[in-house]
Symmetry: C2
Subunit: 322 residues, 2 copies
C-alpha cells in the first residue's frame, strides 16, 4: 500500500493522475486539516474536500476549486443577513459541510465523517485527515496597524495574503494524535509520496502531528516528494509568501531542503534541472521531469515518475527497500 | 400593548393585516415552536419563520410558505449525498437556519436568536418563541403496520398526514418556561389575540407552556380568538385531522369550545353565522365577519374586527376591561 501526504488542489491533481497508473484500493491519502475552519457554524475542511471532489470527478476544473456547476444562493442570502462573505461556500459545497457538521455533532470523529462523506461522494480511495484532533494553522503577520495573529484562511482568502508573514504555527498540534490507521499504514507502506503541495501549510502540519514524521522516517520503503515550486514560484497558491518565513528559499532546492533526511528522492521540474546537483547534495535523489499538470495525462506521467522513484528509479525497477 | 398567539401561515397573514391597522411597535407576537425540528443539523423553526418572513415582506405569497425567489440547490445536493429530502429547505431559507443554528450553538437562547434574526430580516414587530426550552409536538398515529409516534413535521410533511391520529402531545412542555417577556406582556396587555391558527398544534402548545394559559386568563384585558375553521374545514393545513383526536368537532363552534373560559369573543366566518348562538352559549361573544384572507386588505378588515372585539365590540368602542 502507498501512503500519500496531501494538501489541496495540487495534491488532488497529482492524485488524480496517480489513479490512472496505480490501483486506487492500494492507496491511503493523508489530508491536511490545518486549514479547516468553522464558517457560518459549518465544519469546513478545504483540503480534504479538494481531494475528495477531484478524485470523485466532481471538481470545477476551470475555477480550480470547489464543485462543478456550483451556485451561490445561500452565500448571497447570508451576506444579506449581515454574515461575512469573504469565504465563499457554494450551495452544493454547503451540502457537504452540512453533512460533515451533522456527523461531527452526533459524535463522529473527523476520520469517520470523512469516510462517510467519501463513500457518499464516490471517492475511489481511502482519505483520512491527518488527525481527529483540531490543529489550526495560524499565521503571524505584519498587519497595517501592527502584528496580527490570523487563521490561515483568514489571511489567505480573507486578506488575499497581502500581509507579510513573520511566522506560521500549528496551534494545538502538540495534543493531536495521528488519525486511526495512519501510523499502521506507514509501518507497512510500500511507498510514501509527498504530493506537490505547499510545504509550509499543507505538508508541514501533517508531519507536525506527533508520531507522523517519525512513522514516515521509519517506513520500510522509499519516500518520494514532488516539488510544488517550479522556476522559483509556486504553481498555485502562496508558498512564495510562506517559505521565507519558514526559513526556506522559494525554489525546488529550497523545498528539497525541507524534506532532507526524510525523503529519498525529490521530483523537480525540468526547468529547474540546474538545481539537481544541489538536491543530490542534500541527500535526495533528484528526479527531473516535467511537473506541470495541465491535463490528467500530465499528472499521470508525473505520478508514474514518482512511482518509479519509489521503486528506486528507472534504473532500479525492482525497487530497493531502504 | 397587544399580545398575539400565533402559529404559522394563517397567523402570519392575519398579523400582516393587523399591521395595517395597528402600530407594529405596540404588538408582541408569541410564536409556536412545537413544530421546530433539527434537519441536516440545522435548527428549523417553521412557524417563527413563517411569521418573520411574511411580516418582513419576504414570503412567497404564491407557494404559501417559505421565501420568495427561493432555489433548492443545497437540497438537491443533500439528496444526492443520500440525505433525506422530505423536508424541503430552500437555499435562502438555509441561510436563516445557518444563522440561527450558529447563534444557538454559541449559547444564545431561542428568544435571543429569534430577535437577532428578526432584526436582520427586517421584521417590524417583536416576535418571541413561546419558550426557550425545547417542546416537541408529537403525533401518535395508526401507521400502516401499527402505532407510530412521530414528530409533527414527520407526520404532516413527511407522510402527508396520511395516518389517522390517535393523540397529540407536547413532549418536554412540563419542563418549559415561557420565554422572557411573555408573562410580563400579558400582565400589562391591552388585548390578547388568538390568531387563526391550528388550535391543536399551533395554539395549544403555546397555552401548554406552564404559566402562559394562566397569564392569558389573568390578563387585564379582553381575549379574542379568530377561527381557523370556515364552513367545517380548515382554511389551510390539517386541523380537520387533529381536532377529532383532540376531542373537538371540525367546526367554528368546535374551536370556540376549546377557547371557552379563556377567550371573551370569538370571530367566526359569515358562512358559519348559524353557529353564533352556540358560540354565545359557550360564553364567547360571537363576532360574525368574513374571515377568508385572500388579500392583505381582507386580512386588515378581519384584524379590525378582532380589534373592535378586543375593545368590547363595535357597540362598545371605548372598551370594557374584563
Amino acid at each position: 500500500m502507498l501512503v500519500a501526504l496531501a494538501g489541496g488542489v495540487g495534491a488532488a491533481k497529482f492524485l488524480r493522475g496517480l489513479l490512472r497508473v496505480h490501483d486506487p484500493g492500494d492507496l491511503l491519502v493523508v489530508g491536511n486539516t490545518g486549514d479547516d475552519l468553522r464558517m457560518h457554524g459549518l465544519a469546513v475542511s478545504p483540503d480534504l474536500d479538494s481531494v475528495a471532489y477531484t478524485l470523485a470527478g466532481l471538481a470545477d476544473e476551470e475555477r480550480g476549486w470547489g464543485l462543478a456547476g456550483e451556485s451561490w444562493n445561500v452565500r448571497e442570502a447570508l451576506v444579506r443577513l449581515g454574515e461575512p462573505g469573504w469565504f465563499a461556500l457554494g450551495d452544493r459545497d454547503i451540502a457537504t459541510h452540512l453533512l460533515r457538521t451533522r456527523l461531527l455533532g452526533e459524535g463522529a470523529s473527523l476520520s469517520e465523517a470523512t469516510a462517510e462523506l467519501c463513500r457518499r461522494l464516490g471517492v475511489p480511495v481511502r482519505l483520512v485527515p491527518m488527525s481527529d484532533q483540531r490543529v489550526e494553522t495560524r499565521v503571524e503577520v505584519d498587519g497595517p496597524d501592527g502584528p496580527l495573529d490570523l487563521g490561515f484562511q483568514e489571511w489567505w482568502v480573507g486578506r488575499q495574503a497581502r500581509d507579510p508573514v513573520r511566522a506560521v504555527r500549528f496551534q494545538g498540534v502538540e495534543d493531536a494524535r495521528p488519525a486511526p490507521g495512519i501510523v499502521e499504514a506507514l509501518a507497512a507502506a510500500g511507498g510514501v509520496l509527498i504530493c506537490p503541495s505547499n510545504p509550509v501549510v499543507s505538508i508541514a502540519p501533517i508531519l507536525a502531528v506527533p508520531g507522523i514524521r517519525a512513522a514516515v522516517a521509519a517506513a520500510p520503503c522509499r519516500v518520494v516528494a514532488v516539488t510544488p515550486i517550479v522556476g522559483g514560484a509556486p504553481v498555485r497558491g502562496m508558498a512564495d509568501k510562506l517559505l521565507p518565513a519558514w526559513g526556506a528559499e522559494v525554489s525546488a532546492r529550497g523545498v528539497a531542503g525541507l524534506y532532507a533526511g526524510l525523503a529519498d528522492a525529490f521530483v523537480l521540474d525540468a526547468v529547474d534541472a540546474g538545481q539537481a546537483a544541489e538536491v543530490a547534495a542534500l541527500g535526495l535523489e533528484p528526479v527531473v521531469v516535467p511537473t506541470l499538470m495541465r491535463t490528467v495525462e500530465d499528472a499521470a506521467a508525473l505520478a508514474k515518475a514518482a512511482l518509479e522513484a519509489l521503486g528506486g528509479g528507472p534504473g532500479n525497477p525492482e525497487g530497493v527497500p531502504r
